[in-house]
């Protein structure tokens, strides 16, 4: 399956999908030391986003979340790429300062955790292995 989105931060990545169907807060929602989701309302609570391709509909919560994404990167626990339905300031800024490829405009409800996926953020392209 090929999904066409829009480039927010360029770059390419390949890996395993971890998909949250709910909006994700990074400040207080993801542990910057471990990459494990701690947000009590999250449907992927307890899962690690480190080294994965992370997909969720949109960010929520404090704008400090951008710095949490940066810290994840510095600690080697960042996702390889980020796919969102709708980009907003917090996640976009975090992805830019951390240098994580990011695509928006993708219908996240079509994605399933565990699938292999290739992200070509320069082209805004997401390819999911069948």
């Amino acid at each position: 399956m090929r999904l066409q989105g829009r480039k927010i931060v360029g770059g390419k990545a390949e890996g395993e999908l971890v998909v949250s169907q709910k909006p994700l807060s990074f400040l207080g929602g993801v542990d910057p030391e471990t990459g494990i989701v701690t947000d009590a309302e999250s449907d992927i609570r307890g899962q690690s986003i480190a080294g994965k391709i992370l997909a969720f509909p949109r960010g929520k919560g404090s704008t400090v979340g951008s710095y949490v994404i940066y810290a994840l990167k510095k600690n080697g626990k960042a996702p390889k790429a980020i796919i969102v339905g709708e980009a907003e300031t917090i996640v976009a800024t975090g992805a830019i300062i951390a240098g994580i490829p990011m695509v928006d405009g993708v219908d996240v409800s079509k994605l399933r955790s565990g699938k292999r996926v290739t992200v070509n953020a320069d082209e805004g392209l997401v390819e999911i292995e069948e």
Binding site: T63, V64, T89, I97
Partner: protein, 386 residues
């Protein structure tokens, strides 16, 4: 988004890492929100100052940025800092030092317009403190979006911001009319009105009918409460604020505020004095007039307070209060003026557990931190306090 030749070069990294990252942030936001180009800004005001809020992650980012030679290119001031134990203060001072290295004025206040950073009508800005954004947009008629910490810093470095949102005429029009059929006369009435509407309204630009604020602090307070309990960044008051004449476009929905709405807010924050261990005035940071009022009230009260009274203010305002003798009076009655800091962004739970305040914004945050809260006008608080 259209970029000039120079902007393209910055984006390509020709002017170094820091400018490139800053430009990447601006361009990405411009693309997300459909800006056609970047526009120059007159000043920036940056949130993300308290170590409690940004933590080690934010500090690491700021350090890397400062080490890369990031420098602001427009006049830039900071949000208030936090106050805490020695370990906290060491980190807090380091955060301020990182901002200073980037050429930012270390004047840490949520009311920069009382001194260091006063925009004029029509100026484009990149401000991030929500109450200051509301004041600049609504009362001064300057133009800024609700920036996040990193985006206001990026704009300060580049000296530009993407032209979208509240920078554009069409987005500054009212989206809802508010008729006020309640008695709204005091500071706390305005505070309660703002708090109520922040909860009721969405991403609106309200147009108020029937408000006659006797001073600008009342509007400052209303805007701060609306921006805390909701996300309102711009409002118009008929006959009062500078853009009200062209704010109404088409037929708009009308929401009536009644006496009961104001009363409900006050009743929600009416914890008993026995649960209160400090009084807080100055959220947003106090003006000289507010400090003068407190000094006069304390003199009328005539005996010291048993619990401490804190007034938070910008250091320019504090210096004036010192020079005019208000600080001395306030200290004589167990009060203190604390410059540069904000208790809302400070880890003070445990030091204090109950706050009496005239600020709807403070009431909102302290309740969320589990404090007992009493909301009333400065006059009542000072006369009734133990």
């Amino acid at each position: 988004m259209y970029l000039t030749k120079e902007e393209e070069l910055i984006l390509a990294g020709e002017y170094g890492y820091a400018l490139q990252k800053a430009m990447e942030i601006l361009v990405a936001l411009g693309e997300i929100y459909g800006a056609e180009r970047l526009i120059p800004i007159k000043s920036a005001q940056i949130a993300g100052v308290s170590y409690k809020n940004i933590g080690d992650a934010g500090m690491e980012f700021l350090r890397d940025f400062a080490d890369a030679g990031a420098k602001v290119s427009v006049y830039t001031t900071l949000n208030p800092a936090g106050i805490g134990d020695d370990e906290f203060m060491e980190k807090q001072m380091e955060v301020l030092e990182l901002y200073r290295r980037m050429g930012i004025e270390i004047t840490s206040t949520c009311t920069p317009y009382y001194g260091a950073n006063l925009p004029k009508f029509g100026d484009h800005l990149a401000w991030s403190e929500s109450s200051a954004v509301s004041f600049a947009n609504s009362i001064l008629g300057a133009r800024t979006n609700r920036e996040g910490g990193p985006s206001s810093l990026a704009a300060a470095i580049v000296g530009k911001t993407p032209n979208y949102g509240f920078h554009l005429d069409e987005n500054r029009k009212a989206t809802v009319v508010i008729t006020v059929d309640a008695r709204v006369e005091t500071f706390v009435d305005y505070s309660a009105l703002g708090y109520h509407l922040g909860k009721v309204l969405g991403n609106d630009v309200p147009y108020f009918k029937g408000l006659r604020p006797s001073n600008v602090e009342y509007l400052k307070e209303m805007g701060a409460a609306m921006a805390a309990s909701g996300s309102i960044a711009l409002y118009h008051v008929e006959g009062e604020t500078p853009e009200y004449r062209w704010a109404i476009a088409d037929k708009l929905e009308t929401i009536a505020v009644e006496e009961g709405d104001i009363r409900a807010v006050k009743e929600a924050f009416s914890d008993d004095w026995s649960e209160i261990d400090m009084i807080l005035i100055g959220c947003p940071h106090a003006s000289l007039a507010e400090i003068k009022e407190v000094a006069e009230l304390l003199r009328i009260r005539g005996k010291p307070l048993k619990i401490p009274l804190f007034i938070t203010a910008g250091r320019a305002v504090k210096a004036l209060a010192d020079a005019l003798g208000y600080t001395e009076t306030i200290e004589r009655y167990n009060g203190r003026i604390i410059p540069d800091v904000c208790f809302v962004v400070s880890p003070i739970k445990g030091w204090y557990n109950g706050v009496a305040t005239n600020s709807g914004k403070s009431a909102f945050y302290f309740r969320s931190f589990g404090f007992s809260v009493r909301l009333d006008d400065a006059e009542n608080l000072i006369m009734e306090a133990p």
